[in-house]
Each structure stands twice: as C-alpha cells, then as structure tokens.
C-alpha cells in the first residue's frame, strides 16, 4: 500500500510539473515524421507527447466516455463528422493560422466542416485495391474495377488469395460503388443489394483483414487486397527491399473509391490550445507537410508541399489522383444511430454466414 502511494505521488508530481509546456498529440502511429516533431519542439521550445490509437472508432469511444487531456487529434472524415456533431471540438482561431493559404482548396470546405471552422486538412488516403502485378498479369485479371473483388467469375481464379478490409463502412462503400451507387447511399434496398454482392463473393476471400494485409501482399501469400493507398505504397517498398521479383501496385477502380481525409482538430478541453494552434500552423508549412508523404506515401492536401515531395510519390496517380480520378472519389459521411444499427445488422449477417 505504501509503495503504491509513493509511486502515485511521484507520478502525480511529475505529471503536474510537466503540464506546463507540453503538447499532447493523439494521433495514428507513424503518422508524423520524427524529424518534424523534433523540429517543432525546437521551434516552440516545448515538448510533444504522443499517444496513439489504431482506429478512429477507438478514439471516438474514448472521447465519448469523457476522456480529456488531449490537445490535438487527427480524425478521419466521418469521425470528424461525429466529433463536430457531438460538439467536442474547439473552433479554430484563423488569425493564428497564416499558413492556411497553403492548402489546396479542393480539400477545404468539406460537407461536414463548411468554412473549416474546426479542422484543417492534414493528409489523405484513398481506399482502393493493391495487387501483385506478376500474378495478376499471369492470370489475366483486370484490376481497373471493383469486379476483381466482387465478381465470382474473376474471383474463382484467385480463390483464397484475396483479402478485404474488415470495416463495415469501407466494404459496403466498395460494394455500393461496384453497383453504381454512391458510397454514401442510405437506401435500405441498395444496402441489401450490396450485402448480397458481398455474400456471393465471400467464399473466395481469405479473410477480412485491416492490418496484416501489407505483410501478406509483400510475402506473396495474398495477391489482391482491398486496402489503403499508403499501406499499399509501403507494401511495395517492403517488397523491393526484400528482393521480390514482383511489384505491389495500386489500382484505382473506374467506378470510384473512398477518399479518407485526415484533419487536425483541437479538443474542446485541450490543456494548451495555444501550442496546438502553433502546431497546426507549423504543419501547414509546405516543407513540414511534405515529410509525411515522403515517409509513408500518404496523399497531401497541401499545395505548397508539392515541390518537396519525392517525384515517384508525387507522380503516382493512386496517391495523388488527377482531376479525373479525384472526381470519382467520395468522402464517407457519418451515419446516424438508426442507420449504423442497420449496417451493423447487415455486417453481422455477412460475418456469420
């Protein structure tokens, strides 16, 4: 008991002593370059303390239960939607963000944050397909359409070598796009059609996998994966490093895909909103923003960053879609409680059969 009290007091003491000049960043792991963090620490003469989450929903659940103490959070589109609707964010003081002008206007003024009252774009990824180019060529599989994942005739050739994301929202969006509907379609009938498409294709899939498909692609156990553009970029980098004879390429389906835009926001109970604003402005500088793209191959909404990004990444149409590709991308909107239940019911049925 005594030991516990001493430990507790020491911890409390150390915590309160450091609260002075700390920026608490709640972010995805490996979603900011270490050099950027160090440079910011020197710039602001403060310390950046990072904690991580691996999934938007985990972060949302924690905040919904009342967790406090975070300054900056980096939610994805529909999670940002949810946070704004829950009134969990601090409005941004634009006067402190002169670098905001660097952002490509195409990524500003999204449906859920008109006028960017609460958020500033940070990075984006596209949910598409990654494939083993050697195998797909060998088997003559067209990778320009979601049919590669949903059409049983095509799937028969690659049975057991395909994985899809284990997110209900992403998979339903892909199926809806395949059927020609919008990814944000909330028509119950269309959802049932999407469900049928998924169930028909399911026997050919190896697994619902949101995390280790990079490794599986690189090793060659999986030949086609439904995944995120930066993950697929990483898979190819790893494959080349491991000396594989094939490349892992991106395929942006012609029916369109989902754009996941991550933004920086300030939590309404942030201990240091001043440091947070400094950080956001710092990250809006082109050079700093580019470091992330170069590190993990994420898309960059910062127009000023373009000149600092490595050419092989900047010229990759799946990471930086051109105008035509961009027109087919949609951001996922958040659903209300009734709709989420309906989707989950469908998802449970898909997973149980």
């Amino acid at each position: 008991m005594k030991k516990l009290l001493t430990v507790a007091t020491l911890l409390f003491a150390s915590i309160s002593a450091q609260a002075a000049d700390e920026l608490r960043l709640y972010n995805w792991n490996n979603y900011i370059a270490p050099e950027t963090v160090q440079r910011f620490e020197t710039f602001c003469k403060c310390k950046v303390v990072q904690t991580y989450y691996g999934d938007n929903e985990e972060m949302l659940a924690k905040l919904a239960a009342g967790a406090k103490g975070y300054d900056i959070i980096v939610p994805t589109g529909n999670a940002l939607d949810a946070l704004i609707k829950q009134q969990a964010l601090l409005p941004l003081d634009k006067s402190q963000l002169p670098n905001l002008k660097n952002v490509n206007p195409a990524y500003l003024n999204t449906d859920f944050d008109k006028g960017n009252k609460y958020s500033v774009p940070y990075a984006y990824t596209v949910t598409l397909m990654g494939y083993n180019d050697q195998k797909m060529k060998e088997l003559g599989i067209p990778v320009d359409s979601w049919a590669a994942i949903f059409d049983p005739k095509i799937l028969a050739k690659i049975k057991g070598k395909v994985t899809v994301l284990d997110s209900a929202n992403e998979l339903m969006a892909a199926a809806l796009k395949y059927l020609g509907y919008s990814a944000n379609d909330t028509d119950e009938q269309h959802w049932q059609q999407a469900k049928d498409v998924i169930i028909k294709a399911k026997p050919y899939w190896a697994a619902f996998n949101g995390s280790s498909y990079i490794k599986e692609l690189t090793v060659g156990d999986i030949w086609l994966a439904h995944g995120y553009s930066n993950d697929i970029f990483q898979a190819d980098v790893d494959a080349q490093k491991a000396g594989r004879k094939f490349h892992i390429r991106h395929a942006l389906p012609k029916e369109g895909a989902v754009l996941a835009l991550d933004s920086m926001v300030i939590h309404k109970a942030a201990p240091r909103p001043d440091l947070a604003l400094k950080f956001i402005n710092f990250m809006l500088d082109g050079k700093n923003a580019a470091e992330l793209s170069n590190l993990i191959g994420s898309g960059n909404p910062n127009a000023d960053a373009a000149k600092y990004i490595k050419p092989e990444i900047a010229n990759n149409p799946a990471i930086f879609p051109d105008k035509a590709g961009f027109a087919k991308l949609e951001m996922l909107k958040d659903l209300n409680s009734k709709q989420r239940r309906a989707v989950n019911r469908i998802w449970t049925e898909i997973r149980a059969r």
Binding site: M1, K3, L4, V7, A8, L11, F12, I15, Q18, E22, R24, Y26, W28, N29, N30, V49, Q50, T51, Y52, Y53, G54, D55, E58, A61, K62, A65, G66, A67, K68, G69, Y70, G210, S211, S212, I214, K215, T218, V219, D231, Q234, D238, K241, A242, I296
Partner: protein, 260 residues
Amino acid sequence: MTNVIRRPLGLWLVALAVYAFLYVPLVIVVVYSFNDSQLNAEWVGFTLDWYRKLFHNEEMLQAAGNSLMIALVASAVSTTLGTMAGFAMHRYRLKLLPLLVLTPIAIPEILVGVSLLIFFVMLNITLGLVSIALAHIAFCIGFVAIVVRSRLSGMDESLTEAARDCGATPMQAFRLVTLPLIMPGVVAGALMAFTLSIDDFVITFFTAGANASTLPLQIYSMIKIAVTPEVNAVSTLLMGLTLLLIIIASKLAPNAIRSS
C-alpha cells in the same frame, strides 16, 4: 520422494511436446528480432539494427518501463487482495464476494474499460499510470482468488487446528502454517496477474491518460502500419528482464518464493 520417480517416458514425451507448442512461436519472435527485414515474415539475414533502433526509441522504452512498473504494482496488490479473497471464500460462506471475484473474468473487457473510464471521469480522477494500475488490479484479483481457493479446498485443516491448539493466534497460524502451504497457489496467482497486466490492451486503452503509454498500447497502435521487428526486440528484452528480476528475487528471498 517416490513421487519424483513416477514420471514415465510417455509423460515426458507429451510434456515436452507441449513445451514445444509453447515455445515455437516464441523462438520465432526472438529469432526474428535479429532478422534483417522489416517484415515479420521470413528470415533474410542477421542484424542488431532493431535493438539499436530500440535504444534510440525513447517512447517505446518508456512504454515498456511503464508496463513493467504497472505490472509489478498490480500483481503485488492483486495477489494480496486475491489471496485474502480466496482464503475468505474458502473459510466462510460468503455470497457477494465470490460473485464479485468471478464477474470481472466473465465480463467483456471492452465494457469494463468504457465503464471504468466513465467512472474515473465522473470522479475527476486524472487519467494516467495510476488509473491503469487501479483497473488492472480489479481484474487480476479474481484470477488469484480462484487459484488460491482451489489450492485451499481439500487442504488438511488439522495442521492449522494443531497450531491453534499449541497456542498460536489466528494470525500466527495463518502466517506460519497456512500461508506456506498455499504458497504455490499464491505464486501461481501472482504469475497470472503479472502476465495479465503486462499484456493487457483493451482496458488499458480506455483508462490510459494523454501523456503516458504502455507497451501493448504502443504495439497495437502499430497494427495498421505493420509491426516491425523493433517490437520483437522490445518483447525479447522485456522477457529477459522479467526473468532476471524473478531469478534475483528468488535468490534474495528464497523463503518467500520456494515451493514449500
């Protein structure tokens, strides 16, 4: 003593097979910490790079240290409370305690995590390492209690009674007679509590603060970006360190940990 002889060859073979089952994945983990490849997928070549990277990774080391500290505190407290609970459940006809002891094991972690978070927020308890430790103790008590109780059941009460007849107070009887007899159960419970605490993710995620992390939190957050062999390296080190600590502890306090 003749007990020791009754270990027929068949028993040896099966036991060794089970040890192999337990260790093959571990061997892979340790070996791949020296693997010259980012993926945890196949052997490429030998390197100490991951250990080098680890020593520069302050965050990961801090998280590992936090995990160790929390696990030590949590297992110490929960073993004490759990032994008391196990003893009480064996000795007295209690109704509430057995239920309270068993339910944390049954109830899904995610529910416990969310409810503890709401509870801490309601009481305005600052989230941090202490909140994590408090949460861990809560779910470890049950494991210790069940093992201690099962060790006690069927135990020969005559020894304790004899001690009391010789004039020992209940406290002395417990300390000098009962406790040594149930020690393997207590140690087994402590080992389980330590293991549960050091590897817990779900409850820790919800009760952790904004400025401190544990090793499972670090590692699980890497799940989307592929877990690098740095994780293998830190796991190998943590295992080695813990083993070392236990061996040192058993040499320093042989009476406390010896089996009888």
